[in-house]
Symmetry: C2
Subunit: 342 residues, 2 copies
């Protein structure tokens, strides 16, 4: 951590955008990817922050990702649409999908957009946040390449398949859940290898599917719930595959070209995402909704914690980091800082 370089938000944002433009992304694609990565970097989800810029540039230059996509939206009914992302950066497709879902939901109460022929979209919370900022309860899901075993399984079958949900809260940042359906991301295994640390029980397995806490032996992740209750995490991962891949027509997780552990940066990956927007105005009504979510959060935050612990709502920790980083700047690892020339 001592090697981290603190960079002010505007400078980091400009450098990220410029690197993507230089890498071959058009203005809209570069803008969307920058916005999503800056969201993650601001709130402390650095694995999905600006450090991904170099990866995206490699994928753009290898032609895996189309820098100037011609996204096509097909409205299929009053509350549904399919978005063909033309192999562009997933961020642009996901923001566009959420925007459309919100616009449709304003008319019809609820709406969803399925996205196919897309690519890695970073942190799902970026799009849930965008929906919440439109006043909607919003959901974003994406499949990813397989790195998580089934419950009782001995091979990689599902992606870490996150679920992100946002809900507007009057006068403060949204309630924002953004969680993988595995306990940890695979890059935590890699990090623990370099740190020589032991993994938690029931989060990873060796090549034969046996649970292991040794990061060097770990070959795949286990689903949320671990040895005894991993059927729940596996079910949730399957739910994300159902919505973001099976329903959209993208490639299934276990058949998707790997994001990084591959030499193939030429072939598009055909990833799928799903987004949903719900207008509280068409359910309990705005005023009652606002009263209820404020009451819920007041009660949650003041509820009794275990000695030495704090209770938090989804997003509370992240919004605190955002405030802190506004003050201090955003820590960037040396390799990324060199790449971005910040």
């Amino acid at each position: 951590m001592s090697e981290m370089i603190l960079v002010r938000e505007p400078a980091l944002e400009a450098a990220t955008f410029a690197a993507l433009r230089e890498g071959g992304a058009d203005e809209r694609s570069a803008g969307a990817a920058t916005r999503a990565m800056m969201h993650a970097s601001r709130i402390g989800v650095d694995s999905h922050g600006v450090r991904l810029t170099a990866h995206y540039v490699k994928a753009l230059q290898g032609s895996r990702i189309n820098g100037a996509p011609n996204m096509e939206v097909r409205r299929t009914a009053a509350s549904s649409a399919v978005l063909d992302a033309d192999d562009g950066l997933g961020h642009a497709a996901a923001y566009e999908g959420m925007k459309l879902a919100c616009a449709m939901a304003k008319d019809t109460g609820v709406a969803a957009v399925g996205i196919l022929r897309s690519s890695h979209y970073g942190a799902g919370g970026a799009y849930a946040l965008a929906g919440a900022e439109e006043g909607m309860i919003s959901l974003s899901m994406t499949q990813s390449d397989a790195v998580v075993a089934l419950h009782g399984g001995a091979e990689r079958f599902h992606g870490t398949n996150p679920i992100a949900v946002g809900a507007p809260v009057p006068g403060e940042r949204p309630w924002l859940l953004d969680m993988a359906t595995s306990s940890i991301p695979f890059n935590r295994v890699l990090l623990y290898r370099t740190l020589g640390k032991t993994l938690s029980d029931g989060v990873a397995a060796d090549a034969s599917g046996q649970p292991t806490t040794d990061p060097n032996a770990a070959d795949m992740l286990m689903p949320l719930g671990g040895v005894d209750f991993g059927f729940k995490g596996a079910g949730l991962a399957g739910l994300v595959t159902l919505f973001s891949s099976i329903l959209t027509g993208s490639t299934l997780d276990h058949l998707v070209i790997r994001m990084a552990e591959t030499d193939d940066f030429q072939t598009p990956r055909n990833l799928g995402h799903f987004c949903l927007a719900i207008d509280p105005d068409r359910f309990v009504g705005r005023q009652f909704y606002e009263t209820a979510i404020m009451r819920y959060l007041v009660d949650l935050r003041s509820s009794v914690a275990r000695t030495g612990e704090t209770v938090m709502a989804p997003g509370d920790r992240e919004w605190a980091v955002e405030q802190e980083r506004q003050r201090t700047g955003i820590p960037v690892d040396p390799e990324t800082a060199r790449f971005l020339r910040v």
Copy 2:
């Protein structure tokens, strides 16, 4: 288990329906509750099966539940509606809500119904199944009375708040996920007390919020994910509260009158549910959807398992129990058998 009485499905169904009618439920309410409980009893989810009949009759007779509700549906937009369940049995409201969501989604692609002033609805999978049988990808959620701590919390804050999702599969029973967002239900704690068994790590806590494996010390459940990753289960429980309570205008989990540990069987509990239906015809299209889900399930079921384990899709275990019980009859505990006179 040796005391269990095996009862044929038609006889058990008739006895359950008759007991609810005698208890004061009108034909529609009794029919819906019977259908939902029989679903659970058939697939082996006995905690939500016909053993609940006695509880519902007690609530009907105490006037907590209205046996002859006048449910009111308010269509709020093309894809949204609110259903006021008039304090009736939750099963009737949940089936009605799912039916309406499916009908709207056939027109508009996606639709949702929020339900308030309802009561305990049993197993959410019953309604997800009903939606899948209409050809829809369907989701049902319900809040319940608080028995689950927050992550790091030392009091009951959320219900076990299940998420149920169904998806049609050509030529076989649906993909069907029905999971609480805690690792275990509280009745498992009670069962382990009588059996003198030790709980799994990280599923329950004592009155001060300290994790415990002693069922006699357990005072509350911990969210899915346990000591290290319970923030994920707590986030999912909050998600269910958001959709089924905050969005519908029902009472928040921690303010809901307890289901059983109370003398108050007079006051209605104002529980909320949420249901969503998505028409695959309006996304990838029926034929591609069917091909994709079949391919997914074939690959899942034939993927490599850890030695001694089997990999399964959500519902696989339950549909196997259903087949077995069709052959043998449904096991009913002696108390319930006496109550139902079977």
